[in-house]
């Protein structure tokens, strides 16, 4: 009778991947949007009702809104309530472990050697680390991982597709990236409508029974999208982003194109060359669906840097079986006790390297104006505040009595033109006129921004607080802004 291996070598490899994720993720806690998400979750749990209008800003107060990531916000809030910043870090670490663990598993399931699968997964961790941080988006990519596993299982066994409607019902309440899930299903379906071989690419046709199942399940998944607190409006939301929120796509950094001069750009370049090498030298045939998926993932990730993580997820199971760096894993030579000991050591290392609350707080304080907000609260400053865009959510969470100008929710500020005005002020396009338009009393901005230089040289504003992170300006009472004086 054969002894079952209680701790196989592939698990040790995964622990190494998990260690890498921990080390990379520890550096990325200062995410600007997490704060308004915490406030949203707090609002939900205290009022037991979903947000339908803005309560945080003075520029969009009462404007109708959709809290389209409400379900992702809850675990972060609960973790923060229990463990503070360490809780936040723990939630997103676990989600990332699950995502990359899932892709590693999928790569193994597709026949990759465990060492090679781990190597490709670790490379994809680095590529995807652009979007690391306590972000709701990760829950969406976790659903994508589950979808890819379910579809792979269905392709291999013809079973398990019933999970998808439930998955999509969950997904739409977690994040808007469910649209990518539908694209993936669409690609799977379409690439099974043809059969043949073209060069190194092959396609296998679905059987009528498989196709029927896929069509029915896809329809059920689409229907399941309506199981959310906002109904059809939440289903429409991703298309609203595409068609009605152009300034977000044009101006927000993570929606910009990859810059090949940056570290992430160089990784994206490596991704292109790795793909080219795989197409040229791997003897393994390419399935049509993989070709289409890779094309979609590479296209979106090069156009919008925020989708590098999406590309990283898609590429792991496609590239890993084509990489042959390590000797093939032989279960007979496996040493479970050694694997267990090394994994335990790695887990110990993860725990040892886990940052303390003061360390995390220092990272936050280097990015956000905590001391300036304390000053505002101590002095009972209550006028209208114009602030750096990334500060909005932090102010809403840390100083909820202060009404903000805008925050990372973006959409409501696009609809009413506030984001456009913010960008104009920030790029010195009629800033005095716009500060007048919103009757701004105070400006809170990072010290090195050119708006600070302008205000430093304006008789209409003076500095009332300054530290390494931010400067707080107050409008000089008797004097209108210079532009106003001029226009008068």
């Amino acid at each position: 009778m054969r002894n079952r291996n209680f701790f196989p070598f592939p698990i040790l490899w995964f622990s190494i991947i998990a260690l890498e994720i921990s080390l990379v993720a520890n550096l990325s806690i200062a995410e600007s949007d997490i704060w308004f998400h915490l406030r949203n979750a707090q609002q939900l749990l205290t009022s037991h009702s979903f947000l339908h209008a803005d309560l945080y800003t003075f520029t969009s107060a009462g404007a109708p809104l959709l809290n389209f990531e409400w379900l992702s916000e809850l675990p972060y809030y609960l973790a923060f309530q229990s463990y503070g910043l360490r809780g936040l870090l723990a939630v997103y670490l676990v989600v990332l472990w699950l995502i990359f663990g899932g892709m590693y598993y999928l790569a193994l399931r597709r026949g990759a050697n465990c060492g090679d699968a781990a190597l490709v997964t670790m490379a994809s961790v680095i590529l995807g680390s652009y979007s690391f941080g306590p972000r709701m988006l990760h829950f969406g990519w976790l659903c994508l991982t589950a979808l890819l596993i379910a579809l792979e299982r269905f392709r291999q066994t013809g079973k398990g597709l019933w999970v998808l409607p439930l998955l999509f019902a969950l997904w739409i309440n977690l994040h808007g990236s469910w649209v990518f899930g539908l694209v993936v299903i669409g690609i799977y379906m379409i690439s099974g409508l043809v059969e043949g071989r073209w060069g190194n690419v092959t396609a296998e046709r679905w059987t009528p029974a498989q196709l029927r199942k896929l069509v029915i399940i896809s329809a059920a998944s689409v229907a399941a999208l309506l199981a959310n607190p906002y109904g059809y409006k939440l289903v429409w939301y991703p298309f609203d982003l595409l068609f009605r929120q152009q300034p977000v796509l044009d101006k927000i950094v993570e929606w910009q194109s990859v810059d090949f001069h940056t570290g992430y750009g160089k990784l994206a370049m490596l991704m292109i060359f790795a793909l080219l090498a795989a197409t040229l030298w791997s003897p393994r045939r390419w399935e049509l669906r993989d070709v289409l998926l890779v094309t979609f993932a590479v296209g979106t990730s090069l156009t919008h840097v925020r989708f590098l993580l999406f590309a990283a997820i898609i590429l792991v199971p496609v590239l890993a079986p084509r990489v042959h760096v390590f000797a093939l894993y032989d279960p007979k030579k496996d040493k479970p006790w050694l694997n267990l000991a090394m994994t335990a050591a790695i887990v110990g290392l993860v725990l040892w390297a886990y940052p303390s609350t003061p360390q995390l707080q220092d990272t936050i304080d280097a990015h956000f104006p905590r001391a300036a907000l304390q000053f505002i609260q101590q002095k009972h400053i209550s006028g209208r505040l114009f602030h750096f865009y990334d500060y909005g959510g932090y102010i809403e969470w840390d100083a909820p009595t202060v009404r903000t100008f805008a925050d990372g929710r973006t959409d409501i500020f696009v609809y009413n033109g506030v984001l456009d005005d913010y960008l104009k002020i920030n790029t010195i396009e009629k800033p005095f006129e716009l500060l007048d338009k919103y009757k701004i009393d105070y400006v809170l901005f990072p010290v090195d921004k050119h708006l600070c230089y302008l205000l430093d040289h304006s008789a209409g504003w003076h500095t009332i607080y300054e530290d390494k992170v931010a400067k707080l300006y107050e409008r000089v009472p008797a004097a209108a802004a210079p532009s106003k004086a001029e226009s008068e």
Partner: protein, 516 residues
């Protein structure tokens, strides 16, 4: 099927002498070759090149190049120190594109702006005809070669205009054709040293030529096949010829008016001019949300598709060059042009978009008609001097400069970076702060100062440091807004293109509070 070459024989009839028949037959064959479908495809490419060229005259650097060439022809010596700006006056400078500047100046003297357009249009036509020729030579059908070359033209749009760089890329196409020819026949490498000698005096892109030559030599040091990639080892004779040609070409680089300094210049750009590379737009990474970026994306996917779907064998040197061109072009927008030159002839033989060209089905008279229509259109639509001047006036402060000259405003002028060369050519008595030569301004720090001033970082302090009297800026740029709100500066002229500020005499700026 009747072919054109048969037609004259039938028309000639039995009374025509045999000699006459032979002459007519030769003429018909010549006509069939000249008015063949592949040549007509080339004319379509020329039409496309013209469409892009006609709107690209307003290039910011052409003006100081004209001034350089004018200096050369007037004084019979190359400018060795800056005499155009006040920030770098007297600084040693290399006029590293001096030979490219001469044809532009001569054409400008003869035909004005139309002459400039004619020069760069002609150079572009030679470049892309070379690319098309190489694509056909690589085994591509003429229609697929046309599509691939059209992709190269579109990729190159970013550099279309009166630019010295085009002469460099013309040399690149010449080099690639010579190397193709050598691979086929083992002959004619003697052209390379004169080519590199010419190239270094035309443009700094000769470095890319050396890279191409080295890749070509290195990839023939191995033999074998790895997947679809094949390498053929050079014979000892071929290798000797190649190494000699490389050595002679490197030696030929020193035949220039500046000696070793001109040879080192491209490395100076790489290592001593980070400000230039970091902030000049065309040195930036490709942006995939723009038209150029989408074309670059098409190139990436075309290459992947060629590797996946085509049974084409890739030569090792092609593959390495393609990788190099792709890396260079994605990292620096300006090198998309280079990528087009390299990738199009490699991609063309993999394309199977149309049924193959059949010479028997060719209709020379139809081709001739289309070619005549294209030539007629080029003549008819060739922009007048007034139209070209209008393009220039939309981008440059021609009336603001006229205002400055009328008023004899001769103080130190802080100018928009892109207008420096135009000022130097059109109002040579006005010394600008900076122009597109970039290098001399990077060395002495005025490039960084200009950048900080325009980005509203210590603007007043920098204007004070250089004792600026006037600022000639675009109306909507942040620095204009800052000066508009400062009592130390008064707008004394403005139009749609430019606003001219004057520093109020006797006032500092950094200490000033804005006017109320």
């Amino acid at each position: 099927m009747e072919t054109l070459s048969q037609l004259p024989l039938e028309v000639a009839g039995p009374t025509t002498s045999a000699r006459s028949v032979e002459a007519q037959s030769t003429a018909a064959r010549l006509a069939a070759n000249v008015f063949s479908f592949p040549v007509m495809c080339m004319f379509l490419l020329v039409a496309a090149i013209f469409a892009f060229s006609a709107r690209a005259i307003a290039e910011p650097d052409i003006w100081w190049h004209l001034r350089n060439a004018s200096h050369l022809l007037q004084y019979h010596s190359l400018p060795s120190v800056d005499s155009y700006s006040f920030t770098a006056a007297g600084s040693p400078s290399l006029d590293f594109e001096w030979l490219s500047e001469v044809p532009f100046l001569l054409a400008f003297k003869a035909m004005g702006l139309q002459g400039i357009l004619a020069v760069y249009f002609a150079v572009l036509v030679m470049i892309y005809v070379g690319v098309y020729f190489r694509a056909c030579l690589a085994g591509a059908d003429c229609k697929n070669a046309t599509v691939a070359t059209m992709l190269a033209v579109l990729l190159g749009v970013v550099s279309i205009g009166p630019r010295m760089l085009l002469f460099g890329w013309l040399c690149m196409v010449g080099l690639l054709i010579v190397l193709d020819h050598f691979r086929e026949t083992g002959k004619d490498l003697w052209i390379l040293p004169p080519l590199f000698c010419l190239w270094i005096n035309l443009h700094g892109s000769w470095v890319f030529g050396v890279v191409v030559l080295v890749v070509m030599i290195a990839s023939g040091l191995v033999q074998g096949q790895l997947g679809p990639v094949v390498a053929r080892r050079w014979s000892p004779v071929e290798l000797k010829k190649l190494l000699l040609a490389l050595a002679a070409s490197l030696a030929a680089l020193f035949v220039n008016p500046f000696g070793y300094k001109l040879v080192l210049y491209p490395f100076d750009l790489l290592f001593r001019q980070p400000g230039n590379m970091k902030h000049i737009e065309e040195w930036q990474s490709v942006d995939f949300s723009t038209g150029n970026g989408k074309l670059a994306m098409i190139v990436i996917f075309s290459l992947l598709a060629a590797a996946l779907f085509s049974r084409h064998r890739w030569r090792l040197d092609e593959l390495i060059l393609m990788g190099f061109a792709l890396w260079a072009a994605l990292s620096h927008m300006r090198l998309l042009f280079f990528a087009g030159l390299i990738v199009a002839p490699i991609l063309a033989p993999c394309l199977k978009l149309f049924p193959p060209y059949d010479r028997k089905l060719d209709k020379p008279w139809l081709n001739a008609g289309i070619m005549a229509a294209i030539v007629g259109s080029l003549i008819f639509f060739f922009p007048s001097t007034a139209e070209l001047q209008h393009q220039v006036s939309e981008k440059y402060p021609s009336t603001a400069l006229a205002f400055m000259q009328q008023r004899n405003l001769g103080g130190r002028t802080f100018n928009n970076y892109l207008w420096g060369g135009y000022m130097e050519w059109n109002a040579p008595q006005l010394k600008p702060f900076i122009d597109g030569r970039a290098d001399i301004f990077v060395y002495n720090g005025s490039f960084d100062d200009h950048l900080h001033a325009t980005m509203i970082q210590k603007s007043f302090e920098i204007l004070d440091k250089y004792r600026i009297d006037y600022a000639l800026l675009e109306p909507d740029q942040p620095l204009s807004y800052l000066l508009q709100h400062s009592p130390a500066w008064q707008p004394i002229y403005s139009d749609k293109v430019a606003v001219l500020f004057e520093h109020t005499p006797g006032t500092g700026t950094a200490e000033m509070a804005p006017k109320k």
